[in-house]
Amino acid sequence: MAFLKKFVLFLPIIITIFLFGILVSYLLSDRDANKPPSALLNKNIPNFSTVNLFDENKKLFKKDIEDKVTLINFFASWCIPCKQEHPLLEDLQKKFPNLIIVGFNHKDSKKDAIKFLEENGNPYTFIGIDDGSIGLEFGVFGLPETFMTDKNGKIIFKHIGPLDKKTIKTNILPYLNL
């Protein structure tokens, strides 16, 4: 009886410690409930064809990037968070000049897009015009959005919202052993 009474008194502390243990291990396991795995993850790159923003004679197809590690970034001049992540893409391009960065200029006017790139720099290897249909194929949720594909033409990483240093370090850099 005395033992039981002691146990009951200790119970709140035991529960607190137990709870702390569970929650800490959950936090440190790097899961994110708000970002369920994308339906496209580990799937093939969807079919697309696009024309270059600067030169309408240049085109890009799915087969052109299928066998290369590629970073695909959806952006627009009207999207302020895109402006925020832009310097990070520039950095990435400088550090990895061989990395192919495909930019899709999503639902934008050509004039505004070119002005945006003139002001902020152009980190992209190729910029394709997207009237919205390519974004639809990729399941773009909101701008900016970034995809990473591997040498087998599979999507290996997807990020919604502006990129940040931590995401680049943990999710993009490991794939860049070019």
Binding site: L9, F10, P12, I13, T16, I17, L19, F20, I22, L23, V24, S25, Y26, L27, L28, S29, D30, R31, D32, A33, N34, P36, I80, P81, K83, Q84, G142
Partner: protein, 622 residues
């Protein structure tokens, strides 16, 4: 400029609280009161600086840039100050300071207890200042040069949500003071009448404000989310409900403790529990480990920091409780049906409900961690568990305030028994002629039983007063009035959930559709242009049996600054029923609409309002 100003005054708040903690162990103990007021001054300046940054749309402040837009009405600019994680944590610190500032004027408590209470609250403020400064500062400078902001999340741009967070925090964070006072009582081993009285005042106050805050949030969810309901068992709702339930147990326990000094220990335990639940709730919502309507940007460091605060504060408090809890003779006078028994049943029911909600909220985390599977616990679990737990506790509510302390006897016993039998018979017969539902009958029976019982008692008491001193009467009968509010609340909950009718269809312009005895006609679609959004308003005419009743105007809004579309339900209320209409997308057949008839739903907020007012009113007794 204001950004820097806010940052430095926040830093000063941290510093002052550090000194205040230290000063408790020096020779000049009285100075702690000065520091606590100084800290309030600094945090007020810091908080006002943030609000001003929002008002003047200073996009050099990163937080303003991310959560405001120059085209927003001034009201929402101000609300933007607590619309984000960073700003709301600053509000949190402000509320903690506000409480201890007001408490510092207390004259009834011994200085020793007061000093320790301020000491513990200073520790909490210190920890949270550290948290904000290190992980969630709203005073960061914007690294990019912009002349426009990203805009506040459109669903937060609502008049109710301007006051909902401050009100909720006044309740939710208010429990921190109650814990500090409890710890002060423990450490000084001096739990006297004045301690009980002070704890009672502050817990009634915080709990009443929490009630109002939760009710307001649920009303917002009702008309803004457009899902036809008012409570979704969303994690963020659950984490505000848990301290509310524990607080309810505390408020009731203190009312016994006031009469005879039993259960002091239990009251202290509940005081600690309430704020611990607030802390763990904040962790669950802010760390991003649960998906919720209020999802804030998730960040492991932030989560870990709050979790550590929770762990340190809770473990320390429970340890102190273990070591220093007051000895008491357990001579509680429990009988079959007297006041202490009723209150103990209340406590068991509330804590059981609280635990059930807690389990349902963290269960997905435990499962994901152990089985690596993602499960979702939703309304079916909570409805099936919480409702049956709470129901028996409600049975005693209508008579609990008039029960005796010492005996099983209470006045007019037979009237109650006959009334209960009669009510059940009437409801069962009625239900055979309408929709039959077990929960429907039980809910209605309890609600009418509580409403009639409390009204009968209020009426009985009123006769004694013979029309004099109404205010005094209201104050002394506040528990009956609060229970009357609960009766209305249950009536509203039961009828709007069990007897709700839901229809969906598509409608063309000028078409008239029939839904049972009601019909809806789409008269026209208006386009409205506001500063911050463009709206499509459907003007619908509602008819009952072909007689015109009123207009309903559901709306879809497109917010320009962040390209988001929101739904605003159109509601026509005739007191008995809410006609709730949501307009969806347009297709070949016309506009998709969802139409709900929610009977007596307004009683939910009326009941909650009465509970809130009676709680506040009771403070005048002291």
């Amino acid at each position: 400029m204001f950004t820097n100003f806010g940052f430095y005054t926040l830093l000063l708040t941290l510093l002052v609280n550090g000194i205040s903690i230290f000063s408790n162990f020096t020779g000049f103990k009285k100075i702690i009161i000065f520091f606590c007021r100084l800290s309030f001054m600094f945090i007020s300046i810091s908080f006002i600086s943030l609000i001003i940054s929002f008002i003047i749309s200073d996009f050099n402040n990163l937080n303003v840039f991310q959560n405001s837009h120059s085209s927003m009405p001034i009201m929402y600019k101000i609300a933007g100050a607590w619309g984000s994680h960073e700003g709301s944590m600053l509000l949190w610190i402000f509320v903690m300071n506000l409480y201890i500032f007001l408490f510092s004027f207390n004259k009834t408590l011994k200085f020793k207890i007061k000093r320790w209470a301020i000491f513990f609250q200073s520790i909490l403020i210190f920890l949270f200042c550290l948290y904000v400064l290190l992980t969630s500062s709203p005073f960061l400078l914007n690294p990019i040069n912009v002349n426009e902001g990203l805009g506040l999340n459109p669903i937060l741009q609502d008049p109710l949500l301007v006051i909902h967070p401050p009100l909720l925090y006044l309740g939710y964070v208010g429990f921190s003071l109650i814990m500090s006072i409890a710890l002060a009582g423990l450490i000084t081993n001096d739990i006297e009448e004045s301690w009980i009285k002070v704890t009672k005042i502050w817990s009634l106050f915080s709990w009443s404000l929490l009630t109002a805050g939760i009710a307001m949030g649920s009303y917002w969810a009702y008309y803004e989310l457009g899902w036809g309901g008012w409570w979704f068992w969303d994690p963020v709702e659950n984490v505000s409900l848990m301290p509310w339930l524990a607080g309810l147990a505390l408020v009731h326990t203190l009312s016994i403790t006031n009469h005879n000094h039993f259960l002091k220990r239990w009251a202290i335990f509940l005081s600690i529990l309430c704020f611990s639940l607030s802390l763990i709730g904040t962790f669950l919502v802010r760390s991003g480990i649960l998906t919720s309507v209020h999802s804030f940007a998730s960040d492991t460091t932030r989560g870990l920091f709050i979790l550590i605060i929770f762990f340190v504060v809770t473990t320390f408090s429970f340890l102190l409780f273990l070591v220093k809890s007051p000895k008491e003779k357990n001579n509680l006078n429990l009988l079959f049906i007297n006041k202490p028994t009723a209150l103990i049943i209340n406590n068991i029911v509330m804590l059981l409900a609280c635990f059930t909600v807690f389990l349902g909220t963290i269960y997905p985390i435990i499962i994901e961690l152990s089985l690596n599977q993602r499960v979702s616990i939703g309304a079916p679990y909570f409805n099936k568990t919480v409702i049956p737990i709470v129901l028996p506790g409600l049975l005693l509510m209508s008579i609990a305030p008039i029960l005796s302390w010492e005996s099983n006897k209470f006045k007019n016993k037979l009237i109650y028994i006959y009334a209960l039998i009669l009510l059940s018979l009437i409801l069962i017969i009625l239900s055979f002629f309408s929709t039959f539902s077990v929960f429907g009958i039980l809910g209605l029976l309890l609600a009418t039983w509580i409403i009639l019982g409390t009204l009968f008692n209020i009426f009985q008491n009123l006769r004694k007063y013979k029309g004099k001193k109404y205010l005094f009467f209201l104050r002394t009968n506040n528990s009956l009035i609060a229970h009357f509010g609960v009766g209305l609340l249950i009536l509203g909950i039961t009828s709007s959930s069990v007897f709700q009718k839901e229809y969906s269809n598509s409608i063309k312009l000028n078409e008239k559709l029939n839904f049972d005895k009601y019909s809806l006609q789409l008269k026209k679609i208006d386009v409205v242009d506001k500063d911050n959004y463009q709206g499509l308003v459907g003007i619908f005419l509602l008819y009952e049996k072909n007689k015109f009743v009123g207009e309903i105007k559901p709306e879809k809004r497109f917010y320009k600054s962040n390209s988001m579309i929101t739904t605003e339900a159109g509601i026509y209320n005739n007191i008995i029923e809410d006609f709730y209409l949501v307009i969806g997308d347009r297709n070949k057949e016309g506009w998709n609409i969802k139409f709900y008839v929610n009977p007596l739903v307004i009683l939910i907020w009326l009941g909650a309002g009465i509970m809130f007012l009676s709680g506040i009113m009771s403070l005048w007794r002291f």
